[in-house]
């Protein structure tokens, strides 16, 4: 009888920590709710007393935030351009296991829901993994009510190392819950999670094994780079590619160099399985469980490294689906931020001053800037067109200088680095899309606001990203929907 680990359900009876660590069961804990209400009351009161002064100070705070976020991003990108920190391995190294004897056992989990269309391609790409088959345990995590995927999987007549794991229908209906159930039993040295549309590089598992072997004991996770195999489908996929290239090619390696907390990407996270179970695996209530897990590992003293191996994903190219995906990410980032800051002082104590600063800027700043950007765009546009005199009273010289730096330098840096990242990622042909990134940012803010509003109305709703076997099937799908 195999040992079973309890990675789902409410074990403690504590609504905020159902499995012994803070989870996103509630959006706000009691003190956060009180603090938020107090802050709103303070803003209202202050507005009644002196709204001009209030707006001036809010503007000052936001401008300083923008400036710090810009400098931090610039610093990270400068570091990763200078040092190129990803772990790289040669073909000779990968020809043999690091211990010289045998390759360790690997569990591969593939959570999926209504992915029948892409399943054959997925099986095909996983069959090409260059890893001893007897050391692999590939689990297709299929929801109980997902007849579509199950029937395709049955037709494929899968043999070992593939196996179907049926996830019983229960709340919350999220990917992390399926993952947790999927790894409750069975043993392996390492685990990796892939999405249904992923195409990992064939030698990725071997690279990850080598990365763990060459890293100190405290490294519990290895993040591979994510990229898109369909960047040329349309404007959205091109910009999405540039954004991913920037994130995985410049920002995360910069965090890696600083040994800062790394918010994991949704797939291609390789873990030491015992440690993953020890920290409680994924938070089933969090819709960006990957980001949360990355931070939780860091707080628990474990580290994450970035490896130079790519998993090719499908960039969402249909605007409504893209917005839905983005809204989930932003909602999840807010959830993660709120969950991690529940023990406000404890978190700062554990992370230290510099890492806390980076956490606030990189995780908090990420969603916050997407939410407030439209406000400043409208303000700037209004100022440019109508040049109203009253605006100048909220921009005294120091704020004006900082604001100008953010406007003229900051925006350029964020766009320009997307171009640099494209070249570095080997998709230089997309570099000139960097100039169009501001239009993409507008879409990002749409998604962010949708996610923010959904956090209030449907905090645990999982906006499923639709994947397509080929571009034509998109239109078939849309027609069928109509």
């Amino acid at each position: 009888m195999q040992k079973k680990y309890k990675l789902s359900g409410n074990l403690t009876g504590d609504i905020l920590n159902p499995r012994g660590f803070p989870q996103a069961t509630l959006v706000l804990c009691p003190w956060q709710r009180r603090a938020l209400l107090g802050f709103i009351a303070l803003l209202l009161l202050w507005a009644l007393l002196n709204w001009r002064q209030e707006l001036l100070l809010i503007n000052l705070a936001l401008t300083v935030f923008y400036l710090l976020a810009m400098l931090h991003r610039l610093f990270l990108i400068g570091l990763s351009l200078r040092y190129s920190p990803e772990m790289k391995f040669s073909a000779e190294q990968l020809a043999r296991p690091p211990n010289g004897k045998e390759w360790p056992s690997y569990m591969v989990i593939l959570p999926m829901y209504k992915e029948g269309a892409v399943l054959p391609e997925l099986i095909d790409s996983l069959s090409k993994l260059d890893y001893p088959k007897d050391k692999l345990d590939i689990r297709l995590l299929i929801e109980e009510d997902d007849e579509e995927t199950r029937s395709v999987a049955d037709q494929l007549n899968l043999k070992a190392p593939f196996q179907q794991v049926i996830i019983p229908k229960s709340e919350p209906r999220t990917k992390p819950k399926a993952c947790n159930i999927g790894i409750e039993w069975g043993e392996a040295d390492y685990l990796v999670i892939y999405d249904a549309e992923d195409k990992p590089e064939a030698d990725q598992l071997k690279k990850a094994v080598w990365a763990f072997a060459e890293s100190p004991e405290e490294v519990a996770c290895v993040q591979c780079k994510l990229s898109y195999y369909n960047p040329d489908w349309n404007f959205l996929t091109r910009c999405f590619m540039a954004e991913y290239a920037n994130w995985f090619g410049l920002c995360l390696p910069g965090l890696d160099l600083l040994q800062a907390p790394i918010p994991l990407g949704g797939t291609s996270n390789h873990f030491k399985l015992p440690i993953l179970r020890q920290v409680g695996a994924w938070d089933e209530y969090n819709v960006t469980e990957d980001c949360d897990l990355g931070l939780r590992l860091f707080v628990a003293g474990w580290r994450t490294r970035i490896v130079d191996s790519t998993t090719w994903e499908q960039a969402c190219h249909v605007l409504p689906y893209w917005i839905a995906q983005r809204s989930r990410w932003v909602k999840g980032y807010i959830q993660t931020y709120l969950v991690q800051t529940r023990d406000f002082f404890g978190m700062h104590r554990k992370l230290g001053l510099w890492n806390s600063f980076q956490f606030h800027l990189f995780v908090g700043g990420n969603f916050f800037s997407q939410l407030i950007n439209p406000l400043y765009w409208i303000l700037t546009l209004g100022w440019l067109i109508f040049k109203p005199d009253f605006v100048s009273q909220f921009f005294p010289l120091p704020i004006f200088i900082m604001g100008s730096i953010c406007l003229f330098v900051g925006n350029f840096i964020f766009a320009y680095t997307a171009g640099i990242a494209c070249v570095r990622r080997g998709v230089g042909r997309l570099a000139y899309y960097a100039a169009l990134m501001p239009f993409y940012w507008i879409l990002m803010s749409f998604g962010a606001w949708k996610g923010f509003l959904q956090l209030i109305t449907k905090p645990h709703h999982w906006e499923k990203t639709k994947h397509f076997a080929n571009p034509e099937s998109v239109f078939e799908h849309l027609e069928a929907k109509e």
Binding site: G419, V423, A431, Y432
Partner: protein, 493 residues
């Protein structure tokens, strides 16, 4: 696991930075002469910006002669250095010069032999003392900022040729963008350098896939900074092309006879010889990127200088950029490896000829690149005259050179603008007594064919009364539009 990146500099880097700061301090202390005319004008812009004067904002963006970067840097330096009683202009130039030296020594250390290390210093001594400092090495000139930016660009492009690291290209691109904020000549140099650098990159990489995206990476800052100039003009001057209008007006009255002057042809010959040296080095040495980039400078800068002289505009940065390019030429030349013995001998002969030429040309020219100081009426004289009859009147000045000649932070006696709006001045003259100072129409302080200032100088206006004419053609006009209801002629209107 790689060692955690240190957030602070290593001990060695700290020592190196301290050494270069010391060099900058020494340069500051031994800066031979006073601020150049251009530097004084930039300082006036920075001061006007600090005191919130409109003309300061206009001058920051509205002139290609006095580019935004030096004014912005002076603005940053001016306030803190005033407290320490240090000269912002000299310190800025000293830092820029130290940076140039640092880049040169680094290039020398990377590519040259150890015995060649003192070469940059010897070259500077040669230019400074034997050639009588034609490139303003001993002067606090804003051109040093352009020179430092160009040195940074050149350094990173040479490094890129060495190891093809993307970061060098990015750094080079950022410097190229900054060069766009250093004046008209620097913009042209940046544009030509971009084309040459791209051609070199393409040649070096060979495969089109590797080249993909690099034009964007290298060109995006350049285009952005160029676009910024027009955006700022649109925002502040309400006319995106304002900064070009002065040049455009001057183009109609170019003084082409200047090209026939002996000094000009000597200068041109000198740079053509330099170009020849570079052509040989580019063809037969391993430093094709550096030498080809310098070709752009040697071709463009003398032409820009002559065009500026013909247009009677300030050749922003041309002197220092020319000096920097000359230093870099000898430097690159010293560590180049030539393919054949013949080409090496040929190149050395040409380089020696160039040096000899320098001895012939420059000691005979007195500061060939320096702007002549235009004559003006002393501010006290103007005020004394006005105070006799119109003690409350203010004198309106148009144009950047005039505004910086009569700096007045509280704007009690002088009021300056870069743009002339007749209606606006008219309205102002109704509210307060105004005078208008019009310099001679000789093309020095405004274009000879300026539609308004030249016309006023020649014919005046109905509402202007010529109160006094000073030697040299300076005119002081009084606005005679009396405030509404106060004119004795009101009943006749």
């Amino acid at each position: 696991m790689p060692a955690k990146v240190k957030l602070f500099f290593s001990r060695r880097q700290m020592l190196e930075a301290a050494f270069w700061l010391l060099v900058a301090l020494l340069l500051y202390l031994f800066m031979l002469s006073a601020d150049s005319l251009a530097m004084r004008r930039h300082l006036a812009i920075a001061e006007a910006l600090l005191s919130g004067q409109l003309w300061g904002r206009q001058a920051l963006v509205g002139s290609l002669e006095y580019a935004p970067l030096p004014s912005l840097l002076l603005l940053v330096f001016a306030a803190p250095l005033q407290l320490l009683n240090l000269s912002a202009s000299k310190l800025l130039c000293a830092l820029a010069q130290a940076y140039c030296l640092n880049r040169m020594f680094k290039l020398q250390r990377l590519f040259g032999k150890s015995w060649q290390t003192p070469l940059p210093l010897l070259l500077i001594a040669l230019l400074l003392f034997c050639w009588k400092d034609p490139f303003l090495f001993g002067t606090a000139d804003p051109g040093w900022i352009s020179a430092a930016v160009y040195a940074g660009f050149f350094y990173h492009m040479c490094l890129w040729q060495h190891d093809q690291e993307l970061r060098h290209l990015v750094a080079g691109a950022l410097f190229l963008g900054l060069l766009c904020l250093c004046g008209a000549s620097a913009i042209l140099l940046a544009a030509l350098s971009y084309v040459i650098a791209l051609a070199e990159i393409r040649k070096k990489l060979g495969e089109p896939e590797k080249f993909a995206g690099l034009p964007t990476v290298l060109g995006m800052p350049l285009l952005y900074c160029f676009a910024l100039l027009f955006i700022w003009n649109w925002l502040i001057m309400n006319d995106p092309l304002f900064l070009l209008r002065d040049f455009w007006l001057r183009a109609g009255s170019m003084n082409l006879a200047l090209f026939k002057q002996g000094a000009m042809s000597q200068l041109l010959f000198f740079y053509l010889l330099g170009l020849l040296v570079l052509l040989i080095a580019a063809q037969f040495s391993d430093q094709s990127m550096g030498t080809r980039l310098l070709q752009a400078a040697f071709l463009l800068l003398p032409l820009c200088f002559m065009a500026c002289r013909a247009l009677q505009v300030h050749p922003a940065g041309v002197a220092t950029l020319s000096g920097m390019a000359l230093l870099l030429l000898f430097l690159v030349f010293s560590y180049s490896n030539f393919n054949t013995r013949i080409s090496e001998n040929l190149a050395w002969c040409a380089a020696l000829a160039l040096m000899f030429c320098g001895f012939c040309v420059f000691p005979n020219l007195t500061k060939p690149f320096q702007d002549p100081e235009p004559a003006s009426v002393p501010a006290e004289l103007l005020c004394q005259y006005i105070d006799r009859f119109w003690p409350d009147s203010r004198i309106m000045l148009y144009g950047l050179p005039l505004a910086s000649t009569y700096p007045d932070r509280p704007e009690k006696r002088f009021l300056a603008r870069l743009d002339f709006h007749e209606q606006m001045l008219h309205e102002q003259a109704k509210d307060e007594q105004m005078h208008l100072l019009i310099p001679p129409n000789n093309g020095e302080l405004y274009p000879k064919k300026h539609p308004v200032l030249a016309d006023i100088h020649r014919r005046g206006r109905d509402w202007l009364l010529l109160e006094k004419q000073y030697p040299g053609g300076w005119q002081l006009w009084r606005c005679v539009t009396a405030p509404s209801g106060e004119s004795k002629l009101d009943h006749l209107r």
